[in-house]
C-alpha cells in the first residue's frame, strides 16, 4: 500500500490500518470485561442494595395530612390548583409555558383531558352511596357555574386562613355544599376508596396513574415528603433519589440550570431549560463540525498523556 493510499485525509489523519500492529485478543478482552463488570455489579448490589420507598397512597395522604386533602378538594372545585390552571396537555385552564415566541406546550392541544373538579373530585364521589354526599353533589350540580366558583373559592380561602387549614376552625359562611363535598372526599380517601377510582378507563386493570398523580401533586403533602428527602427541584432533586444512592448523576447539567438565574425566577423555566438542553445536545452530537470546539483537544494536551508511549517512541 502506498503512502498516498494511507494518507487520504484532508485533516492529515492517516489510515489506521497503515500503522505497525501488535497481537490483540478482542474476544478475550471483552470476556474479561464482561466478567469484571458482572462481578462488580453483584458486589455493589450486595453491599449497597437499592432504594425502594413505598409509594404514597391516597389513603396514606388522607391519614397523614387530612387538612391538605380537604384543601386540595376545595381547590379543585374552586379551580385554583396547579392542575386546574395547567393548560395543555390536560385542559385549557392555563396558557402553559413558552419558549420565546413558541408556545410549544399548546401546539398539540389537549391530548390527555383532565377536568380537575369533575375528574379528581366529583366523579369519584358520585360512586358513594351515602345520602348526605348525594345531597351535597346534587346541590352542587344544581348550582350555576358562577355560584359553584363563589362557594368553592370562599371555602378554599377560609381554609387557607384557618389555623393549620383545619376545617373545624373555619368560621361559618356561605360555602354551599363545598364543606360537605370536601369532607366526604376526605372520608373516601381515608377508606381507600380513591385508589382506582381515578383511573380514566375505570377498568379492572389500571395502568395509568395520571389523575392520581395530578391530584397528589396538587396537594402539599407529596412535595413536603420529597423536600424532606432533599428531592426538591431547587435541591438538585431531578437527579437524586431517596436514600444515599447516586440517582441519575448523568442528568447533572439538566438539573444544574434549575439552580441558577434566570431559570430560578422564570415562569417559563421548564421550556427554557429544555430548549437550552436540546441546543447543547445538538452541539454534543455535532462537535466534529463546530470550529473551535473540535480543536479543544489540541489545545488541552490530554492526548499527549493518552498516547504518551507512541509520542515518546516517535520522538515527537
Amino acid at each position: 500500500m502506498t503512502s498516498t493510499l494511507h494518507r487520504t485525509r484532508r485533516d492529515g489523519t492517516p489510515d489506521s490500518h497503515a500503522f505497525p500492529t501488535r497481537p490483540y485478543d478482542l474476544v478475550k478482552e471483552f470476556s474479561i470485561a464482561l466478567v469484571a463488570m458482572l462481578v462488580l455489579t453483584v458486589v455493589l448490589a450486595g453491599v449497597f442494595s437499592s432504594p425502594d420507598e413505598k409509594p404514597i397512597t391516597l389513603a396514606a395522604w388522607a391519614n397523614g395530612a387530612p387538612n391538605d386533602v380537604v384543601a386540595t378538594a376545595a381547590g379543585e372545585l374552586a379551580g385554583t390548583t396547579t392542575s386546574a390552571g395547567y393548560g395543555a396537555p390536560y385542559n385549557t385552564g392555563g396558557q402553559g409555558q413558552q419558549l420565546g415566541p413558541l408556545a410549544l406546550q399548546r401546539w398539540a392541544g389537549v391530548t390527555i383531558p383532565v377536568d380537575p373538579a369533575q375528574d379528581l373530585v366529583l366523579t369519584p364521589l358520585s360512586r358513594v352511596a351515602d345520602p348526605a354526599t348525594r345531597a351535597a353533589l346534587a346541590a352542587w350540580n344544581a348550582a350555576t357555574s358562577d355560584q359553584q366558583t363563589t362557594w368553592a373559592t370562599a371555602y378554599a380561602t377560609a381554609l387557607g386562613n384557618a389555623t393549620d387549614g383545619n376545617p373545624a376552625a373555619v368560621p361559618a359562611g356561605d360555602y354551599g355544599p363545598v364543606p360537605a363535598i370536601s369532607s366526604a372526599f376526605l372520608a373516601l380517601a381515608r377508606a381507600g376508596g380513591l385508589e382506582g377510582a381515578l383511573d380514566p378507563s375505570g377498568a379492572f386493570y389500571g395502568t395509568d396513574s395520571t389523575r392520581g398523580l395530578l391530584l397528589l401533586a396538587d396537594g402539599a403533602y407529596l412535595e413536603d415528603q420529597a423536600r424532606a428527602r432533599s428531592l426538591g427541584g431547587d435541591q438538585w432533586g431531578m437527579m437524586n433519589e431517596t436514600g444515599n444512592y447516586p440517582g441519575q448523576p448523568w442528568m447533572w447539567l439538566y438539573t444544574f440550570w434549575y439552580q441558577v438565574p434566570p431559570f430560578t425566577t422564570s415562569d417559563n423555566a421548564d421550556a427554557q431549560v429544555w430548549g437550552l438542553m436540546m441546543l447543547l445536545t445538538l452541539g454534543l452530537v455535532l462537535v466534529p463540525f463546530i470550529p473551535g470546539v473540535r480543536s479543544i483537544p489540541r489545545w488541552v494536551p490530554v492526548h499527549r498523556l493518552i498516547w504518551r508511549d507512541w509520542y515518546r517512541k516517535q520522538g515527537t
Binding site: S3, H6, R7, R9, T13, P14, D15, H17, F19, P20, R22, Y24, D25, L26, A33, L34, M37, L38, T41, L44, A45, G46, S49, D52, K54, I56, A88, P89, G96, Q97, L99, Q105, A108, T111, T207, D208, S209, T210, L213, L216, Q225, A226, G237, M238, E241, T242, Q248, V273, W274, L284, V285, L286, R294, P297, V300, I306, W307, D309, W310, Y311
Partner: protein
C-alpha cells in the same frame, strides 16, 4: 436481474472488510487504559440488559415483595450506574483524542446519540419503579416535557406507557445505535494519535504548523 443476496453480501463486506470485524491485531499506538472504557461500557450494557431481562421474568412489582427480586433490581441499578460511568469516561476520552478525525464523524455522532438515548431509557426506568421515587420524578418531569409539547404524547404519569418504552422501544433504539457505532468503529479502525504519521512515510503534515491545524472530520 442481479442477486439481492450477492448485493447484500458485497455491501456487508464493503462496510466491514473481512478481518476487521474481529481483528486479532491492533495498531501499536493503542496503548492506554482509556481504551478499556469502551469495552467496559459495552460489557456493562450487556449486564444491564441481562439483569433487566431477569427483572422482567418476575414482573413489574416482583422486586417490591421478593428478596431475590430486590437483589436483582439492585444489580440492574448498579449495572446502569457502571454503564453510565464507563460511557462518560469513554466519551471524554474520545473527545480529548479528537476521535472524529479521519472520516469518523458518524462514529462520534452515533456514540453521542447512544448516550442521549441511554439517558432517556434510564429515565423511563426510574418512572417504572412503582414506588415513591417514581411518583415524585414523574410529577417533576411532566412539567419539563409538557412545556415543550413532548408530554402530549409521552405521558410520564402513565407508568404503563413508561414501562413499555423502557423495556421495548428505547432499548431497541439504543441497541440499534450501539450496533451501528460498533460497526463504524470496526470499519474505520482506532483513530491514530493527533499529528501522527505512519512510520517510514514522509510527514505530509509537516508543511502545516500543528497549532493552527483544525481537527476536522474530513478526508
Amino acid at each position: 436481474m442481479s442477486s439481492w443476496t450477492v448485493g447484500l453480501r458485497t455491501r456487508l463486506a464493503r462496510t466491514v472488510p473481512p478481518g476487521e470485524l474481529l481483528p486479532d491485531r491492533q495498531p501499536a499506538y493503542v496503548s492506554s487504559w482509556i481504551y478499556v472504557f469502551g469495552v467496559l461500557c459495552l460489557a456493562s450494557l450487556i449486564v444491564v440488559i441481562g439483569t433487566g431481562c431477569v427483572l422482567a421474568i418476575g414482573g413489574v412489582t416482583w422486586w417490591h415483595t421478593s428478596g431475590l427480586g430486590h437483589f436483582v433490581n439492585s444489580t440492574h441499578l448498579w449495572s446502569v450506574e457502571l454503564f453510565f460511568a464507563t460511557m462518560v469516561i469513554h466519551l471524554w476520552g474520545k473527545f480529548f483524542m479528537a476521535a472524529w478525525r479521519g472520516k469518523r464523524a458518524l462514529t462520534w455522532m452515533t456514540g453521542a446519540v447512544a448516550f442521549v438515548g441511554s439517558v432517556g431509557t434510564a429515565f423511563t426506568g426510574y418512572l417504572s419503579q412503582t414506588n415513591f421515587d417514581s411518583q415524585w420524578i414523574a410529577g417533576q418531569a411532566k412539567d419539563g416535557l409538557n412545556a415543550v409539547g413532548i408530554g402530549a404524547f409521552f405521558n410520564v404519569l402513565d407508568p404503563g406507557q413508561m414501562l413499555l418504552w423502557h423495556v421495548t422501544l428505547l432499548p431497541l433504539l439504543v441497541g440499534v445505535i450501539v450496533v451501528a457505532h460498533i460497526v463504524l468503529v470496526r470499519r474505520h479502525g482506532v483513530v491514530p494519535p493527533i499529528d501522527a504519521v505512519v512510520p517510514g512515510e514522509p510527514g505530509a503534515d509537516a508543511a502545516v504548523p500543528a497549532p493552527v491545524r483544525d481537527l476536522t472530520t474530513t478526508g
